[in-house]
């Protein structure tokens, strides 16, 4: 069975090719069937493989397809590694991916057939890349998928290519990703020189004998890659802009794929990070900062998708905090739960937007609860989950990270907790503004309001269930001993990285912390709910609120310190090119011409002059003879 693992990515690839090549001849129905069908097939395959992997005593299996690059002593096979971590991700990707595909068949139904097919082919390609990323048995295959998802995000964000703004957002995503990718790439080169290989087993095996400095360097560079892909400071600004794409795409990017790539990669490299405490600290600090930072911005956003986007950035920050403090399982756990509730939230938002005829500003919504019952309920579940209110999934995963952070340093915990409160606040602000109160849109929209079709609601319901119950996969020891299914499942992967450095927190403390965070989340949620239930925030924010609404002016800052100087430099180079470098070349030519014009004057036409010059020539020769020593 495991040998068929290559089918898992190949099926979406086939879907991509079929939909892409025959986009003009396929009907929408066929397209949808192909697009979703391949994902479903992959999901089933993943389940089957999962069945094998979860058996006790399973060791990671490497499936080599062919020799990819083989130069000198460096051999990079095109190989897949199947182990607990990759299977878990496989399930998340194909499962959530399938739901999103399904959802899309309805959501995108108004598109023309060729574009519809194009959309699905992109989606399939996206999933293919992501699968490649998690399946790759070495860093290069991982990198291929890594860049692949970057490309697909570019294509999907810019899906409506007529709009130049969307195009810019797509471009920004790609370029930001590339900046991170460069770090990743250099890390790979470093590994090659250091270990002579990029295969996970070789690298992790060799890491113990390498110096801490080297490992720190490599891990930091890898982290640079991760900040790009997973939208961490300083490379996070592309993600909120990426809302330009169709909403299901946002769901895909934010929930199941792409942004989790960074988490996956660091989790995968836990063996390296465990050896580099400095890197871990950096990861934790950056993660935490990002979490807080994004959360503050989310407070003042009015675009339904933007709020969700910043919440994603913030949640990703959590995951990095988890990775940084050594709670790899917690981070992966959070990835999973996040995949569920964030997909749910985005799809719900999509449903809202669908109903609103494309409107995304929450200030123009309100009272949608009645018109969209399924959507509103599932959305509420999502909000509760993300806010960390027990017993929904978000609570468990977030709590695992927070307790690990507390063990590392209380400061981490306090900030993390504060961020969690902010999360609860802005999520319920969003929910309250959108779904309760009175409708604030146009009459036309009001008439148009309707619950979404089944193809959209079914994924919502499925995801809502998952968001609600997935937390039970990771019940902390403090509550029920040995109930942490996920930790046991993933143990082989993370154990390989060495002992967990986190100082164990006593169960009592942990329970206290849990109660504190759950209580605070609940309180803040209710606060927000009541605050915005009937009096939504409609005015333009002022003062500090304005700073937040404008995202701390980071885009403007980047523009001023990077984009503009770069443009200036480019302009200067163009000038240099024209006047100095080419000028020098042309100058030589002109000098020759000028010389010709001047020298020609020697040819005065006067015999006397000629003879005089001849005599001077003779004189010169004799002077050389007389005075130049030989």
């Amino acid at each position: 069975m495991i040998n068929l693992v290559w089918l898992i990515p190949v099926l979406p690839l086939a879907g991509f090719l079929i939909n892409g090549l025959f986009r003009n001849s396929l009907s929408k129905g066929m397209t949808g069937i192909v697009g979703c069908g391949v994902l479903l097939a992959s999901f089933i395959l993943s389940l089957l493989i999962f069945g094998q992997v979860r058996q006790d005593g399973f060791h990671a299996v490497t499936v080599t397809l062919f020799d990819f690059i083989s130069v000198d002593k460096l051999h990079i096979p095109f190989a897949f590694q199947v182990d607990q971590l990759s299977v878990l991700f496989l399930l998340i990707i194909t499962g959530v991916g399938f739901l999103i595909h399904l959802y899309s068949t309805a959501y995108m139904h108004e598109e023309e057939a060729p574009h519809y097919a194009r959309y699905f082919s992109y989606l399939n390609l996206f999933v293919f890349s992501m699968l490649l990323l998690v399946l790759g048995a070495n860093f290069v295959i991982l990198f291929i998928g890594w860049e692949g998802v970057g490309l697909c995000s570019y294509l999907l964000i810019g899906y409506w290519f007529k709009n130049i703004e969307y195009g810019n957002a797509a471009k920004k995503a790609f370029i930001m990703n590339r900046i991170g990718d460069l770090g990743f790439l250099i890390a790979i080169f470093w590994m090659i020189t250091q270990f002579g290989s990029v295969t996970f087993t070789d690298v992790f095996g060799g890491a113990k004998s390498a110096s801490v400095g080297v490992i720190t360097g490599i891990t930091l560079l890898l982290f640079v890659g991760a900040t790009g892909k997973s939208a961490q400071i300083p490379l996070y600004t592309w993600l909120p802009d990426a809302m330009a794409g169709p909403t299901p795409v946002s769901a895909l990017i934010h929930a199941a794929t792409m942004v989790t790539a960074g988490i996956y990669m660091i989790a995968r490299s836990n063996a390296l990070y465990s050896l580099a405490p400095v890197s871990q600290t950096v990861v934790a600090v950056i993660g935490l900062t990002t979490a807080l930072f994004a959360a503050t911005i989310a407070l003042k956003q009015n675009d339904i998708k933007k709020v969700l986007a910043y919440s994603t950035v913030s949640q990703l920050g959590y995951m990095f905090l988890g990775l940084g403090v050594g709670a790899y399982t917690g981070a992966v756990f959070h990835v999973m739960t996040h995949a569920f509730f964030k997909a749910l939230l985005f799809l719900g938002a999509g449903s809202v937007i669908h109903a609103m005829g494309g409107e995304q500003d929450i200030r123009k919504m309100g009272g949608l609860r009645k018109a969209l019952p399924v959507t509103s309920i599932t959305f509420l579940i999502g909000c509760i989950a993300i806010a960390g209110i027990p017993p929904f999934s978000g609570f468990f995963s977030k709590d695992e990270i927070l307790s690990a952070a507390f063990a590392k340093s209380p400061v981490y915990y306090v900030i993390g907790l504060f961020t969690a409160m902010l999360t609860a606040f802005y999520m319920f602000r969003l929910f309250a503004t959108t779904f309760s109160g009175t409708f604030r849109g146009t009459h036309e929209q009001e008439h148009h309001l309707h619950e979404s079709p089944l193809a959209m609601t079914i994924p919502l319901i499925v995801l809502a269930i998952l968001a609600a119950v997935a937390g039970f996969l990771g019940i902390p020891d403090a509550l029920v001993p040995n109930a942490h299914v996920l930790e046991h499942f993933l143990e082989p992967v993370f154990a390989a990285g060495g002992e967990h450095p986190a100082v164990e927190v006593s169960h009592g403390t942990e329970l206290g912390l849990m109660a504190l965070s759950a209580g605070l989340a609940l309180v803040v949620s209710l606060l927000a709910w009541s605050r915005f239930k009937s009096k939504p925030e409609l005015a333009e924010p002022t003062g500090f609120g304005k700073v937040l609404a404008n995202k701390w002016y980071v885009d403007e800052l980047y523009n001023a310190i990077i984009v503009r100087p770069l443009n200036g430099l480019a302009k200067f180079f163009v000038w240099l090119e024209r006047w100095i470098i080419d000028g020098a070349v042309n100058g030589v030519g002109r000098l020759v011409q000028y010389g010709g014009r001047q020298l020609r004057l020697l040819q005065s036409g006067q015999v006397g002059g000629y003879v005089l010059l001849m005599v001077i020539g003779i004189l010169a020769l004799f002077l050389v003879e007389l005075f130049v020593k030989k």
């Binding site: 010389g595 010709g596 000629y610 004799f622 030989k630």
Partner: protein, 466 residues
């Protein structure tokens, strides 16, 4: 000896042919026969069959180098007459054709002397025999003030350089240990040279430099080449120059060869100046004819490299260079004569009206520029290689190639005008034979460019078995 006597005699025959017939074509045919005869006899000489066993009392020495050079020169002259001979008749309203051909033969006689001289006296006489007819040919367009002016300038400066040369010879005579002009006796060896000897050497360098238009003794060249009737410019710039160059090499090889390190620097300076002035000044010319005059200076600069590094490669190379340069220049001049307008603009759009003419002209120009696949490339190759072989004067080599790059600029201006610019280049009437011959010349150039050894094989074996 065959060539000297036959050229002199044929000159006299040509002189009298004017009495027998006034028909230009007959006279020209007679000249062609004479040239073929010269070639044949020279070849006989080359393979050791001497028609006139004259005891020259060591005044002349016939070696392969000289005879091969003669062969090249006669062949070039033959091609020249075939291509442009008819044009001589066009200036013949003022100038009897027969006499012109007679003078050309006398010049050839002088050239044969210069290529085979063995005493300074013969060199002197040879140069004078070359020069005097040339003064006249230059001025042969008697009503044309430019022609007059060119002739007088050439004459005055030529006499001056003769004076310089004689002073040099006198010094050498004074320095020679046993009072002789024979170059066998002048070779003093590599010991320290007397001041007299050195002064003589320098003066000879100057005067020979003058004859081959090496800077700064080149000033007559542009004016004379420009002023002279184009058909004779072609003759002067190619055949005569090549001939004198052979003599130049011979003089410095046989006479001063042993003291080469002593005078190399001077040659290097002159070469550099020549290359510089020739190439740079040519850049700004508006008339193709005058550009070719400057280019001939530039080419002389390249040939001087052979003088700098007299060795096997140089002597081989100078023969090839002479051939390559003469063929290409004769070809271009033959085309130039057919042009109504000698300026660069006059060539605009030639390729459209006369594709064949333009194509052959391009090959000639490429050869002059030294692009591979043409004889000019190997010619330049040999020159550079000979200097590099000596291991000194590397800077000069680099300088030479930079100048060669400059030369591309003005040669390609013609190509640009012909091919890439619009215009209607006016061309005089062309005979099919003329075109055919141009193609043959171009083919020869390409042949030499691919297999230079065709020409050099004989020389090579001889040079290295010496």
């Amino acid at each position: 000896m065959n060539a000297i006597i036959i050229s002199a005699v044929w000159g006299i025959i040509m002189m009298f042919s004017g009495i027998v017939t006034a028909k230009g074509s007959t006279i020209r045919n007679a000249a062609i026969i004479g040239l073929v005869l010269l070639l044949v006899c020279n070849y006989l000489d080359l393979i050791g069959y001497h028609l006139f066993p004259v005891d020259t009392h060591k005044m002349l020495f016939f070696d392969t180098f000289g005879l091969l050079a003669n062969g090249i020169i006669f062949a070039s002259t033959l091609i020249y007459v075939l291509l442009s001979g008819r044009e001589i008749e066009n200036i013949a309203q003022r100038m009897p054709v027969a006499e012109c051909f007679a003078l050309i033969f006398f010049v050839l006689c002088g050239v044969s002397l210069v290529t085979t001289f063995n005493t300074l006296l013969m060199l002197f006489l040879g140069i004078e025999i070359i020069s005097i007819p040339l003064y006249i040919l230059t001025g042969s367009d008697k009503r044309n003030l430019k022609s007059n002016e060119a002739s007088l300038k050439y004459f005055l400066m030529g006499c001056f350089s003769t004076g310089v040369m004689l002073l040099g010879i006198a010094f050498l005579y004074g320095a020679s240990p046993n009072g002789s002009f024979s170059i066998d006796d002048l070779g003093i060896g590599s010991q320290k040279l007397s001041a007299l000897y050195m002064a003589g050497l320098l003066l000879l360098l100057v005067s020979m430099g003058f004859k081959v238009s090496a800077a700064p003794f080149h000033f007559w060249t542009p004016d004379v080449y420009d002023g002279a009737p184009t058909v004779f410019t072609s003759f002067m710039a190619t055949i005569v120059k090549a001939g004198i160059f052979i003599g130049f090499i011979r003089l410095f090889d046989e006479t001063f060869g042993d003291s080469q390190p002593r005078w190399q620097l001077f040659v290097a300076i002159i070469t550099a100046v020549t290359l510089f002035i020739g190439n740079i000044t040519a850049v700004f010319q508006q008339s193709v004819k005058r550009m070719l005059a400057y280019s001939s200076i530039a080419q002389a600069g390249f040939m001087l490299l052979a003088l700098l590094s007299i060795n096997g490669l140089a002597k081989e190379g100078i023969i090839l260079y002479a051939a390559a340069y003469s063929l290409a220049t004769i070809g271009i001049f033959a085309i130039l004569i057919k042009m109504k307008d000698y300026t660069f603009e006059g060539f605009n759009g030639l390729a459209r009206h006369q594709p064949l003419l333009a194509a052959t002209c391009t090959i000639f120009l490429l050869s002059l520029a030294g692009i591979p696949l043409t004889a000019g490339f190997f010619a330049k190759y040999y020159m550079l290689a000979s200097v590099i072989e000596t291991g000194h004067f590397f800077w000069l080599v680099v300088f030479a190639v930079l100048c060669a790059a400059v030369s591309v600029y003005y040669y390609f201006r013609v190509i640009q005008a012909m091919y890439f610019k619009d215009g209607d280049a006016q061309v005089l009437e062309l005979r099919p034979g003329f075109k055919g011959l141009l193609v043959v010349v171009a083919a020869l150039i390409v042949l030499l460019g691919v297999f230079p050894q065709v020409l050099l094989d004989k020389l090579y074996t001889l040079v290295y078995t010496w």
